[in-house]
Symmetry: D3
Subunit: 157 residues, 6 copies
């Protein structure tokens, strides 16, 4: 038998039974960053100046992806997010855009997958917007920062 | 006006016109890794031994996500992949699972977004499978490795 | 700061926090119409006579779209509809097909977006069915008619 | 038999055979507007000032919906858009936001459904953003403006 | 190594390379049936009499599912259907509804998966419509009937 | 009026009102099989030996499809599965692969559609993996085995 909860007693992938878990308030915060050339970031922020669409596009991508996490991650339970917020900020060391996503629900399982998936979609959208300038951008440090609610309690990095 | 191709002359996000581009053979290879505790990786590989479902789940997630990239990345053109391959291998320094995705199409625009999205989905699925053991896993180094086809020619990291 | 609930305190789009809202019975009714040539409507109704597929297709489109509203409207919360009904009727002044959708749920947020999205999908499907006859059809008067449940109480046009 | 191309010889809904049609450049422009209180529009435009997210959200919704039109409209053929542009502008008579979408492809069937669906999604997203202020907004005049390419040639309103 | 084309040389699932295959006209016909009590079928056909919605719903489900086959079948290539037709007829021995789907495309790979998936979705929709009357219905004989186009040529059952 | 619950009093398809139903624990088990040549099954099981991907792909397809059942079956209510398990076993009489899916939720409506849809997707994925060897495979006996929870109580085949 396996230590992996996502394998059943036959060693096969399954969607874990959460039927007995309590519906409680759950929250997760995840983050990540996309490292880029200084000139790329300058172009991104300048392009954003006109109407704000460059960063808004990435935020919207993060929000929409987070809602559909269970369609992408095979063994992830569907759950209705009650709150989602995506924040993109410029980082200087290294030259990067940083993304933080906060997800909340009232349900029987946690929302860390939704938060992480939102981060990845937002950062990859930044890559898409800038890729004609700089194909070498790199997504780094995608990780959970905080998690609360449910039996396992609070977790902080 | 902006240097970002994804903003139109009004500074607004749009889906770039590729109507004049040639339909040629296009290929992209992307990679990334998820860094984890030694004990987590041991459990993952042990759990995989029984039926192979642990890594297969991640590979399938990568393939299925790559096909739907244009649903997730707002300004990405839909295109029919002609080939997709996801490879997951164990890395020791640092202790990690490495993912490489190779995507191909015959079309008017490149497939780097599909390759990168496949990498992210596969790695996030590994996170999902192992998260009960180790919430601190970290996705790193998601980047393009190679790109060929189209007017911009070949690109290698 | 903004009067728009869908912008957070930084002025950025986010999915509003509904975690504290009560799960109550919610209902919304929306309507709209598609204005067309008399001859187009005659063909639509005649075509429908054979097996009923013309109007059934539009009703099904409205139902299926309403269920997926949160995939289309970026900041809309996903919610499980408990009831949905789409009604299409002929209107004579102006010559049109009228659509009314009634949506219900038991949840923490309203269902007006689902009702409106159902109306739009049903009417656009009518457009699709008839467009070879009449490209000039026009969708008009898509609006909320009634809303009840939740803290804001009942609203009627 | 029916005049409706979307019913087969048995009177049943089907997806029309376009196998013999030429793959040519196709373009469609559609428009519509959402009529609102002056104070609502003022709040929308003021809220947009901060970061631009209010209108960007609607533009992105229009783009993403247009790409997925064939998932919503039952008998619509899937086709890969080569270009999509969504424009939102303020109208004063009546007080409204106007939306215009231009869609292009190189394919065997037209893109008017994609353009119209993009208009509807963008306008409904504006409704969603403003609905806490004004439930009485109304979507009007959703219609095709221009269509070119294919055997049926150019069409202008 | 494996005889299964869907496993790569490492024995891992992948999406087969079809980049070298010719884009030709491809067609597939698939069928299946749902066996039910005589009284159930009577109720289905009687319910259909009113507006035709019962069978139309199943036909539409088959069409819409066929278009999205590559989202459901992990290693199936996305391809744009150029024609799709779903036919439902009453069978008496055994008492059943029979479904036949004909799918066509012009592309580099066959459409049998689309035809089969359309059959399954239409039959399962019949199950859904009748299940309150008869939970014991059974789907049988889902199979390919005909396939043409491409290097492997014509195949008939 | 009709005996079909999915037709409203006007004889039109609608999504039944489940607003008054109790949220209770619901479970359903469904099964089916795909009949194939002995040599095909041998190749499938041999191909599975290497890394297990052949059967894992089918299991994952079943799980992911079950979660999205309400997108495929037009009048099916969306509901969040709390548990899903897909089992594939070899049958000898007739030579086949057998699939059993067990689905559970805590909600206001049953999960038999999810279980049946999971069976169909898993079996069709087996078809896809083996179709280059054997186009004549046949899906048989897709049916409900057990259902419990809700007002209608327990049902067993």
């Amino acid at each position: 038998m396996s230590d992996l909860t996502h394998l059943n007693t036959r060693g096969e992938a399954h969607m874990v039974d959460i039927g007995e878990k309590q519906a409680t308030h759950r929250m997760a915060i995840a983050e990540g960053r996309i490292v880029m050339e200084a000139s790329t970031r300058e172009a991104l922020l300048a392009g954003n100046l006109a109407k704000g669409d460059a960063l808004a596009t990435a935020r919207i991508a993060g929000i929409m992806a987070a809602k559909r996490t269970a369609e992408v991650i095979p063994l992830c339970h569907p759950l209705p997010l009650s709150h989602l917020d995506v924040e993109l900020t410029a980082l200087d060391e290294p030259m990067a855009m940083h993304c933080q996503v906060r997800a909340e629900t009232r349900g029987a399982t946690g929302v860390e997958m939704e938060a992480l998936n939102g981060v990845q979609a937002a950062l990859l959208t930044v890559y898409d917007m800038c890729k004609a300038l700089d194909r070498g951008m790199r997504i780094e440090g995608v990780q959970l920062v905080h998690k609360s609610g449910g039996r396992s309690g609070e977790w902080n990095r």
